[in-house]
């Protein structure tokens, strides 16, 4: 009786091999093992995702260097002030909105863009007569002619949704060129933060949330909201190509970019999970 040896080193008889479809070659072995199938899927997923050159073709063609973050357009609803909790909730949302604006510049500065700081931006914004909506739609070429700004980043905080163990925030990012007026980058993201509570239902700050609350001197809820919007900013804006004068501007063209539509799920330990969606709802 002749015995064959499959790729995993198991000796089988010819009959067994005939009946059980002998696994010869690397692909059937990979498909048969769940771990390697996962690897294969990951490799395939990374190969099939869009490249930065295709995703941000306008940025690569216009090569902006100076970006100005326009004042935040906060469309989220506030509660009517009936109890102290309502007031605290509104304060928490206000602080989170401010933190969203403050942390928007960091990933872009790390990418080699020039961005004015929050106080300087506030001074520039104070000289602007147009409303946010007008700025978003009208001609903004004067920003280039008078201030030397190549692109303006508009951030719109659409809504906050709260359930007992999750907070969801919807934010829209639009980067408009001051040269051509085109939208160089437009993304709407829904980020969800999973929370941990104690047996009474009170929020438990874990890890960086606790550090944040201690450092900023705010309550747990505000800290977790701030951390959520900060992570969202980091995740979304980090994907933009590097600035025109940055060394990586040309070398990172073929790195996979984020998918066109995606949501984020942030776990209590700080890890981020990206959920690819077909179309943003």
């Amino acid at each position: 009786m002749t015995r064959n040896r499959d790729i995993m080193g198991v000796q089988r008889s010819a009959k067994e091999c005939k009946t059980n479809v002998p696994a010869k070659g690397i692909v059937p072995a990979l498909l048969r093992t769940p771990w390697y199938s996962l690897v294969l899927l990951l490799i395939l997923a990374s190969c099939s995702s869009q490249k930065k050159l295709d995703a941000y073709s306008d940025i690569y063609s216009e090569r902006p260097n100076v970006i100005y973050v326009a004042p935040l357009n906060d469309l989220s609803l506030r509660r009517a002030l009936r109890t102290t909790e309502d007031s605290l909730y509104n304060i928490s949302l206000n602080v989170a909105a401010k933190h969203l604006y403050l942390t928007a510049a960091d990933p872009l500065i790390h990418h080699g863009y020039y961005l004015p700081g929050p106080l300087a931006s506030a001074q520039i914004a104070a000289t602007e007569w147009r409303t946010g909506k007008q700025l978003r739609n009208d001609d903004i070429s004067d920003y280039y002619t008078s201030l030397g700004i190549d692109a303006v980043l508009f951030i719109t905080l659409q809504s906050w949704q709260c359930t007992y163990n999750t907070w969801t925030v919807e934010v829209e990012y639009v980067l408009r060129s001051t040269h051509s007026g085109n939208e160089l980058f437009h993304v709407s993201v829904k980020a969800m933060k999973l929370l941990t509570t104690d047996f009474k239902g009170n929020l438990l700050p874990l890890g960086e949330d606790a550090d944040f609350a201690r450092r900023y001197g705010c309550d747990v809820e505000t800290a977790q909201r701030c951390r959520l919007v900060e992570t969202l900013n980091q995740y979304v804006l980090k994907d933009l190509p590097s600035g025109a004068h940055a060394r990586q501007h040309n070398t990172e063209r073929y790195i996979p970019s984020h998918p066109e539509y995606f949501n984020l799920k942030i776990h209590p330990d700080g890890s981020v999970q990206m959920l690819q969606t077909e179309l943003y709802e």
């Binding site: 040896r5 790729i7 995993m8 080193g9 690397i26 990979l30 771990w35 390697y36 996962l38 690897v39 990951l42 490799i43 990374s46 260097n65 100076v66 100005y68 206000n94 602080v95 401010k98 933190h99 403050l102 942390t103 510049a105 960091d106 990933p107 500065i109 790390h110 863009y113 020039y114 961005l115 004015p116 700081g117 929050p118 106080l119 300087a120 001074q123 520039i124 104070a126 000289t127 007569w129 008078s146 201030l147 030397g148 700004i149 960086e208 450092r215 900023y216 001197g217 900060e230 992570t231 980091q234 995740y235 980090k238 700080g270 890890s271 981020v272």
Partner: protein
Amino acid sequence: MKKNDSHKTRSLLTLCASIVFIFHFSFFIFSCSGEYIGVPRAEVLRYQTTPTYGVLHELATAYAVSLNNAVKADTLHPGMYAEYGVTLALMGHTGTACRMLNAEMKAFPESRGMVTRIKQRLMPDMLIDTLATPRDTANLVQLAAWAYDSVTALKPLPPVAAVIDSTDTVWISLQTPVDSVNYPIRLTATEKREILERQQAEEAARQQHVADSLAAEKQAAIEARKQAQLEREREKKAKEEARKAEQQAREQQREEERKQKAAQREEERKRKAAEREEAKKNKKKQND
């Protein structure tokens, strides 16, 4: 031998999987790590929620420490000098603030436009330090005069100086009745709009006044022309009447003269007839 091969393949696949896993998750970890780039966010957030002088002072101190560390470590990020400069300017230390903004402009030349705008807003007196070209003084004086007039109507306090920059931001120094310190007053958007509307209304009224005065002048000219024409007609009529009267008088005189001549002729004829009669009578007497 075959067993060793399969082990090799398995370890190779595990290595590949680990690399892919590390690549993907390191990207997640890197993208989500909190980063600190010279902006003391806690202080900025505190200043934005409670904008008091004390918090501003803390913010300036934090910026100073951050800037000092960045300069020492040669990790200067864009906007750090400008942020510190703006904080100092808000505290009133315009000299140092101007130096910081100039340093920002020197370190990052692309910030020139923004620094100029910030200086125009916070310290217009120091603007000449930034701009190489002198400003249009005549235009500035004219604008300042306009701002002075406009703001006097809006603000109850008497302004002592008014400056307007190229971004139509009006800067008014007010002397309060309590103390004699001049405060730069930054007009709000509503006030600016009011000024603009007032200016537009004044411009419209001026244009209306000009148009009205032009129309009045035109009407007056028409009236004068009509009056002159009437005057001329009246004079013409008077001349005509005078000429007619003169003619009548001349005719009357001529008639009287004719009558006188006729009467004289008649008298002459009568005298001649009487003489003739007398001569006839004398002749008859002589004959007799």
